[in-house]
Symmetry: C2
């Protein structure tokens, strides 16, 4: 039949909304920044260009896989440059593009907010947890 059940309508609405979100610039940016290592890589490269192994050492907790994956994503989005020098063994330098620098500025603003307000947030959290425990 042509009519849909309530459940089907809801599912359909969700699919459409997901599609809408997938094209939303803000959401795309947010999900990229939300990635665990993106902000750290941006910060590291904001201090200047660096080689793969330097990044790996500087961001101590990252796994090889995630570092490579993060770098590829950022490169694909035009946020960082990847320069390969044909030495033996090969040398690779990563650096921020202008777009990457401008994104880092935004992230810095976020960082400032966090540093100024996280204390308040943490206190609210403690108060909330204490009330729940009583």
């Amino acid at each position: 039949m042509a009519t849909l059940t309530a459940a089907q309508k809801r599912t359909q609405a969700r699919i459409e909304y997901d599609a809408y979100l997938a094209t939303c610039p803000s959401r795309q940016l947010l999900s990229t920044l939300g990635d665990k290592w993106v902000a750290l890589v941006l910060s590291a490269l904001a201090e200047g260009p660096a080689r793969y192994s330097e990044l790996r050492r500087h961001i101590a907790g990252v796994s090889q896989k995630m570092l490579t994956q993060t770098l590829r994503t950022l490169e694909r989005d035009g946020l960082i440059d990847r320069d390969v020098e044909p030495t033996v063994p090969v040398t690779v330098r990563y650096s921020l593009t202008p777009t990457g620098h401008s994104l880092f500025a935004v992230v810095s603003a976020l960082k400032s907010w966090a540093e100024q307000n996280m204390q308040t947030v943490l206190e609210a959290r403690s108060a909330y947890d204490a009330a729940a425990g009583s």
Copy 2:
């Protein structure tokens, strides 16, 4: 023995780094904002207080579970207020706190960056994919 293998040292370094990240205000904020629905709930409430069912309708794609979970997290962090009116049936109004409003301002800045630069990013992405396909 007292010495550690290279693998053990790396694991240890990762644990310490994770612990460090867990206390980093920026990272905490980023992982919160990265949550799929947080920004959407903030945006919705920035337009004014709303009831649970209103939010559910306004943010069409969200599931009951995730909406509740998101609201709880934001409430816990002191970003939104939850007011219960003892009517029958019960009425619940959510609204942004001052801290919540200030966070929304930051998110708005992020949104502006996304709207201004996502076109460039998308083009870079297309170019990258085209090069890979050749």
